[in-house]
């Protein structure tokens, strides 16, 4: 049975490996630890009955004003999200994000949330736009190391 719950320190190693298995943008453990100690309530995991992590979301607050944008809203940011292919299309990513956004709002008073997505990543794009109501803010040229463009997407958060 799938379980969705807040991420704990003990989950971070597995989150790191799940990220490496799913995405080309990877992080050393120290960064993930830093992320979790800085914004402990922004991250959630989905586990299966063997207690393996099959999906995760890492959510944080923008810590510098430039990142918060012109309108000066307190903004959250989704650092990374992924679900193992065998577990996709079961609504896990949507649930993970819903929990993360609720927590980011409560704990850090986030007024908006932003994220980046590869132009070619239709699954993620549809999840954000159709599943969760994000809007495209702009197309950032060559955002990724391999040169691909990114959609920068945002969503306003309310109680």
């Amino acid at each position: 049975m799938i379980d969705i719950r807040p991420a704990q320190v003990a989950d971070l190693q597995s989150i790191q490996q799940a990220n490496i298995a799913n995405l080309p943008e990877n992080y050393v453990f120290k960064f993930i630890l830093y992320h979790n100690i800085s914004w402990p309530q922004g991250s959630f995991v989905a586990t299966n009955s063997d207690n393996q992590i099959v999906g995760y979301v890492l959510g944080k607050m923008e810590d510098d004003e430039a990142e918060n944008g012109k309108d000066n809203r307190l903004s959250a940011h989704i650092t990374s999200i992924a679900v193992n292919r065998e577990y996709r299309r079961q609504g896990l990513a949507r649930r993970l994000l819903q929990q993360s956004l609720k927590s980011l709002r409560e704990n850090y008073r986030a007024e908006a949330v932003s994220l980046h997505v590869r132009e070619s990543n239709q699954a993620a794009f549809k999840l954000y736009r159709d599943g969760l109501g994000f809007e495209v803010k702009e197309l950032t040229k060559s955002y990724y190391a391999d040169g691909e463009d990114a959609y920068s997407m945002v969503k306003t958060l309310t109680d």
Partner: protein, 792 residues
């Protein structure tokens, strides 16, 4: 060692200049001054100068070599001994040991410096971090308290002390300190009139921590009352609600159930909430029915309900089939993962067997075929599984008109079924095809990489593992990509590499990769260091405390255990000279991948990229003991003790080997394992010409008290092994180590029925290969029983 003499005024100002240069990172100039002092004072040694020189030599080299490090070690040891009354010398020694990540020595040096001069804030800040890293909580509390008395107005100092007290389990002091802190903040709040002061994360955290400190003293009622008083100031509403619900249960309040229902509303996929609510309900089944009905899109209550019902009851049948059919009708190819948990129950397997026609009508052809194939595979009907999935194989072809996502999902499932049937080569091919269809999909590539290594096709495996890093411009060639993989700490991939090399008997590379994994775990452990500063500063105390507590178990990880197993197996095999493997390996290693890598590899970043030096390192066995001891601390299992036994036997440390056997037995080793251990020890004693007689006699007396079956001392070893090492894999291993390999392959073939899984079959085959015997008789029999197995 003579004691230090005070400096004259010339040297004293030279030393001051040296310190200033050092702080400005002008190491050359600083070194010139220090060497001047040392030169002028040959007969009246100055310890502080030695300590400083050590730091300078260390910093002057980008990567200090072994010789420099040795000199630095000596200078530091000498300097701090001569100047043992100088807090400066000890401080520098502490800095040096910290740079070398020798935290225990660093702690001692900092402690000495602190005791000689308690007011140097640089010293006690570092000392606190070291004490935290080494879990010396009484020292941590002491130093954090000191820091607070000096900086009463620093919020971080309060937070740091409160965390330290919590870690040291001084819960009443946690309470008092939080109270005091809140009063100090009260003053600030009145002065600044800034509402944000009330709202800070670390205040919220301190308040929650106080509540947890009350809980830890087993005072749920008081904790609950306190929780209500702090509610408006707690930001982490979820944690607050969870704690409230938990405490309501502890004090037997009926509202508890309602709270869990609210938590379920908030997150309907958190299994724990349901479990708690069920415990509090007089009619858990009824409750789950209500919850399912209220939220039909949510599978969690439905699956929990199925778990509660008797799987042979009509009610179960109806609900199970309804759920399964509705999931299948979504035509998602991987529906099976949701139902996998039910496969330990024969009634469910029968239920599906009886209803296949109905399932077929509920969805498209491909999702049906995939589901049914999994169904057969998980009920161990591998050839039926393959027939079912291969029935729709044409859909994966380019001209089939199916969308590529479906094709990829199909191939992913197909590879699972093939792997479970032992056909690793076809599983690799299926995944190659899948990732070819969606070349941008990292997950498919990860699976493909793993399949290559599982099939011990290392050159394809490496190529796949490197692909995205080269494409993503993180690395320009294979050699850089390998460095990238280890620097990004991709332990799951690296351990698969190690296992594949092991199977191919490429021992140096197997060792190299396993050591890569061990290094990464050491990094995990070391890297928390900075967080002993950052955690209290950020104020997220509960998470910081979790980190410190979790760290005890960093090494308690399957991947680490696999790496330790490989490292010790390789070093034992090499050092005990069970086989002349090095010579043999040189031929197998001529593979093209390694040749290709050799040209590119930069030996400046890694002086031993292929593990050849590590393989031949004379201290291999003692390093194996070190990693085994680390693992033993977190996993004191029979397997770990048996591995230790093997290493000690190879080292001819008979007493320790016998102790390990005893511990393995205490931890529940099987009779077969105990007999295996006893054989290895007796063999080591029999073949050691230098063992003192008294030791030998002592061990021989002890052995039969541990291995009580048969007569391990007097039976012939071959006969003893065949009678008492009853597990096939243990038996093969014992025969290999004892070098009783005649007829082994034929005898193993006779035991083939005892090998149940594809993995056991493979392990048995590997044992035979390392034994150096002709594997043919074994392979021939295996193929009759396992027609699709591909690893021979």
């Amino acid at each position: 060692m003579p004691k230090s003499q005070p400096l004259n005024s010339k040297d004293s100002s030279a030393f001051q200049r040296a310190l200033i240069h050092y702080e400005k990172k002008e190491y050359e100039q600083s070194l010139a001054e220090v060497e001047g002092i040392i030169e002028r004072r040959k007969d009246r040694l100055h310890g502080e100068s030695f300590c400083l020189k050590s730091l300078l030599l260390y910093h002057l080299k980008k990567e200090p070599d072994a010789e420099t490090l040795k000199e630095c070690d000596e200078l530091t040891a000498k300097g701090s001994e001569i100047d043992s009354e100088s807090h400066v010398a000890w401080h520098m020694a502490g800095i040096y040991y910290k740079l070398r990540t020798e935290y225990r020595k660093a702690l001692k040096a900092y402690m000495s410096s602190y005791q000689l001069n308690p007011d140097n804030s640089n010293v006690y800040q570092d000392l606190a971090m070291l004490a935290a890293q080494l879990r010396d909580f009484p020292t941590l509390v002491d130093v954090r308290r000191k820091a607070l008395t000096q900086h009463m107005n620093q919020r971080m100092s309060w937070a740091a002390l409160i965390a330290a007290l919590f870690l040291d389990k001084k819960y009443t002091e946690v309470e008092n300190t939080v109270e005091l802190y809140d009063r100090v903040m009260e003053v600030e709040r009145k002065q600044v009139k800034d509402p944000k002061v009330d709202d800070r994360v670390e205040r919220s955290e301190c308040l929650m921590l106080k509540a947890e400190a009350i809980v830890a003293q087993n005072k749920p009622k008081r904790a609950l009352n306190y929780l209500y008083t702090i509610e408006p100031n707690v930001r982490d509403k979820l944690a607050w609600c969870e704690l409230e619900a938990k405490l309501l249960v502890e004090v037997n309040k009926p509202e508890a159930k309602k709270r869990y229902l609210l938590l379920i509303q908030r997150n309907p996929s958190d299994v724990e909430y349901y479990k708690q609510a069920m415990k509090l309900s007089e009619d858990p089944v009824g409750l789950l029915k209500e919850l399912s009905a209220a939220n039909p899109k949510e599978l969690t209550p439905c699956f929990l309900l199925l778990n509660e019902l008797d799987s042979t009851s009509p009610e179960f049948t109806e609900l199970f089939m309804k759920t399964l059919l509705s999931q299948l009708s979504r035509n998602v190819l991987t529906t099976f993962v949701l139902f996998k948990d039910f496969y330990s129950d024969p009634a469910v397997i029968k239920l599906i067997d009886d209803n296949i026609a109905q399932l077929k009508d509920s969805c498209d052809e491909v999702p049906f075929a995939v589901f049914i194939a999994y169904h057969y595979s998980y009920s161990n009907r591998h050839s039926d599984a393959l027939t079912a999935i291969e029935d729709v194989k044409p859909i994966a072809d380019a001209d089939a008109g199916t969308d590529v996502d479906t094709q990829a999902d199909y191939l992913l499932a197909y590879s699972h079924i093939l792997t479970r049937a032992g056909d690793l080569a076809a599983a690799q091919a299926a995944l190659a095809k899948a990732s070819g269809k969606l070349p941008g999909d990292v997950y498919l590539n990860t699976k493909y990489t793993a399949a290559c290594f599982k099939n011990s096709d290392v050159s394809a495996g490496y190529k796949a593992a490197f692909r995205f890093y080269i494409q993503g411009k993180h690395a320009k060639d294979d050699a850089e990509a390998m460095n990238y993989i280890t620097s990004i700490e991709s332990v799951n991939t690296v351990i698969n590499m190690a296992s594949a090399h092991m199977i191919r008997q490429e021992y140096s590379l197997a060792l190299k990769r396993a050591l890569n994994v061990i290094d990464i775990f050491n990094i995990y452990q070391r890297e928390q260091y900075d967080f002993h500063f950052f955690g209290p500063r950020k104020g997220t105390l509960r998470t910081y405390i979790n980190m410190v507590e979790w760290e005890q178990s960093v090494y308690d990880h399957d991947v680490y255990a696999r790496a330790v197993d490989i490292v010790s197996t390789v070093w034992v095999t090499i050092n005990a000279k069970y086989l002349d493997v090095v010579g043999e390996e040189n031929t197998t290693l001529g593979n093209s991948w390694r040749k290709e890598m050799l040209e590119k590899v930069d030996t400046k970043t890694d002086s031993d990229p292929f593990g050849v030096a590590a393989l031949e390192s004379p201290d291999g066995l003692s390093r194996a003991v070190d990693v085994l001891k680390t693992l033993e601390k977190v996993r004191p299992t029979p397997l770990v003790y048996l591995k230790e036994l093997e290493v000690y036997a190879a080292q001819k440390k008979h007493v320790l080997a016998t102790q390990s056997l005893k511990k393995a037995k205490e931890r529940g080793a099987t009779n077969s394992q105990i007999a295996m251990g006893a054989c290895i020890i007796r063999h080591a004693l029999d073949t050691d010409d230098h063992v003192p007689d008294i030791i030998k006699q002592m061990q021989l007396k002890l052995l039969p008290t541990i291995a009580t079956e048969g007569d391990v001392l007097n039976d012939e070893l071959l006969q003893y092994t065949n009678s008492f090492v009853t597990n096939v894999l243990d038996w093969l291993k014992t025969r290999r180590i004892l070098r009783l390999t005649e007829n082994l392959s034929t005898e193993a073939a006779e035991k083939i029925e005892e090998l149940v899984t594809e993995e056991d079959l493979e392990s048995a085959y590997q044992e035979l290969r390392i034994s150096g015997v002709d594997t043919e008789p074994f392979v021939k029999t295996s193929k009759e029983l396992w027609p699709r197995v591909s690893f021979f």
